[in-house]
Point group: C2
Chain length 400, copies 2
């Protein structure tokens, strides 16, 4: 019934091994894998709790060590293709001052164990409200509760377990999908597999659920197009661009949610399909949306290995497109300039690519930005009839 | 291919006349109706332009009259059940000072005519960028362009034409739907009707398109549950609450978008299903989300007749629920208090209902608010096992 994180023994999604179009047969394997990983999760939680317990039994102060979550504790290896969390750890020793947080951490781990055992899940908000029954260990506000959850997530990510495996799911809305794709969604209770054909939604679309690990795919599409705005998605969907171009359209609606990123990653891995990003040409579209999609984000580097799409490439809108297509522009705002300069000075991803560094410098020199819908200057469907086909003929020129 | 506003001769959605579960046969009627309304739209635009033209030909100053869009020009009639735009008009006479806006208004109307004739659509942003080719009539910024579009929309709403009929569609993301509902989405190009079964998406959902007029429905559900947060929607969807309760779940994700409101309204009208709102107990949930869903909003009263759901009722969370279910609360913020007091002092909807006025005063006296997920204090699935079933046994006690 629920979406479940399923990593194989080598901590990579097992379904990677299924071949394109043959995903349907993988459900019983997925089921076994889910059971194995649920056992692993419960074991890891129990082990962590046992350590604390035995220290206390011996009259010693128990402590826990959490990876530090910040840009300063991030590594970027081009070959791996995503931000990795570094080795810095922070310790939490049980003292008079830390007793509440310590207790909360253990209760939150107990909640996770219970969720795995009852095959349920909780959002950050659910977890916060659950704590209201923990008497003195109740969280005072959601920020407190979120920090503890993030720490636990980082702790177990070292063991190859994602937050979804701990059964903590995002509150946020998933992206929309349309095109040449069939999604298989198994119901573990009834054993039935829903077969969802994303070319059969008319003018509507398939809305990605909060958890996607249990999904598998069937597709012959040539590529996935990840689109920034709902407006552009609706245009390409209504004019069935996915039919002409034999592709899958995904609406990210801004910075893609975790579920949307993981969905694209799984789809790309399991079906060996390239992913092209189509976003606004501004530091937000490039450094927040595209960078997060491709390599992850700084304060959540412990997630990147699961949630980013290292193979993604940048179709547009590029700074050079502004020149080539004479696009209407807006001046860069102060926040844009700051964001672009930050990316050049501090972001390991942009620093690792001469092409990207040059593109960002070009944008700063021009002093302007352009939205993807600016192509409408040449006609509402210029993007379908001219821009995208022309771009797709020269994929090797896409920014990395 | 596209979603098309279809109102019948008496300016109400024609499909109202189809009976529950028999919507499938209505497509050819819808098609004729679409053609009739497209002709009407083109005629109305041409008439408005002709008036301007003939004035100029006679050497007179042309002028146009637009309904004033503000809370001060709103009427609320309980029997009609939605905010109506009043009679105040503002005039735009062609002078040296207004020449740009005047020209832009005419060009925007011409764009609308072209969109109807080519069976296409434009978002606000598309329209703005299109203007970049209008030489001196180009919009300087999007605010300028949005105002002109809103004026045109208000102008033609008097003729019973919605913005969607003018082919201007929202940029925003639609809501998600799951449960006992089959959506029919006809493709006018191929004549094929997509049959979208919202009970077959596993853990995923159906994402509502930007335009919904062309859709029709097939359902035996007892009610529609319109839910504020994505997290609560995912819980009810994953646990198949819609199966147990025989209902349709709609995720509004905050204040519902136009497309989401129109979708719920059509569904409710055409299938005679009641709509229950399930939102946070705070002035935002009550006065922004629920009030907008039910009767519309002040600065867009020209839309209410098409976009609100006058029959909607308030399941919860009510101020009394905070007491009855001993929910964890947060103190009301200043903005909450201001919002509640504003609603009591100035909002025709809350003023027309003693029950609502009492509920808002109770909330102000308690000085606290509660989120719908606060029910998780009693267990993550307390909402499914206890709260909703208990509430649904006493529908007649729902706030109006």
């Amino acid at each position: 019934m629920l979406g479940l994180a399923v990593w194989s023994r080598d901590e990579e999604p097992m379904a990677k091994k299924t071949t394109r179009g043959k995903a349907a047969g993988a459900e019983s394997a997925l089921r076994k894998e889910k059971a194995r990983l649920d056992r692993k999760t419960v074991t890891k939680i129990t082990e962590a709790a046992d350590k604390v317990h035995s220290k206390i039994s011996r009259g010693q102060k128990p402590e826990m060590h959490f990876p530090v979550r910040s840009l300063s504790n991030v590594r970027y290896d081009k070959r791996k293709g995503y931000f990795e969390i570094g080795r810095s750890k922070k310790s939490r020793t049980l003292t008079v001052n830390t007793v509440r947080t310590f207790a909360q951490t253990l209760r939150m781990m107990a909640l996770s164990k219970e969720l795995v055992e009852t095959d349920d899940f909780a959002t950050k908000r659910d977890a916060y409200y659950q704590s209201k029954n923990w008497t003195d260990a109740a969280f005072r506000d959601q920020a407190e509760s979120d920090t503890v959850m993030d720490d636990i997530e980082a702790l177990f990510s070292v063991e190859g377990l994602s937050r979804e495996q701990l059964r903590f799911v995002p509150d946020e809305h998933g992206g929309a999908v349309a095109g040449r794709l069939v999604v298989h969604d198994p119901d573990y209770e009834t054993g039935r597999v829903h077969r969802i054909d994303c070319s059969q939604f008319g003018s509507g679309a398939y809305s990605i659920p909060s958890m996607v690990e249990h999904l598998s795919f069937e597709t012959k599409a040539r590529f996935v197009l990840a689109i920034e705005t709902g407006g552009m998605f609706q245009r390409l969907q209504s004019h069935r661009f996915w039919q002409k171009a034999n592709c899958i359209l995904v609406s990210m609606a801004g910075v893609p949610t975790r579920a949307t990123r993981r969905f694209i990653r799984k789809l790309s891995d399991e079906c060996s399909i390239p992913v092209y990003a189509f976003v606004d040409c501004d530091p937000y579209g490039i450094s927040n949306i595209y960078r997060t999609l491709k390599v992850g984000s700084g304060n959540a580097a412990h997630l990147s290995r699961f949630f980013c799409v290292p193979g993604a490439r940048f179709l547009g809108v590029t700074p050079q497109d502004i020149v080539d297509y004479e696009l209407p522009t807006h001046p860069l705002k102060d926040v844009d300039v700051k964001r672009a300069k930050d990316a050049l000075a501090n972001d390991p991803f942009f620093q690792s690519s001469k092409l990207w560094a040059a593109a960002l410098r070009q944008l700063l020199e021009m002093g302007v930005r352009a939205e993807q819908q600016a192509l409408a200057k040449w006609g509402l469907n210029y993007v379908i009839d001219e821009y995208l086909p022309r771009k797709l003929k020269a994929v090797k020129h896409f920014l990395p």
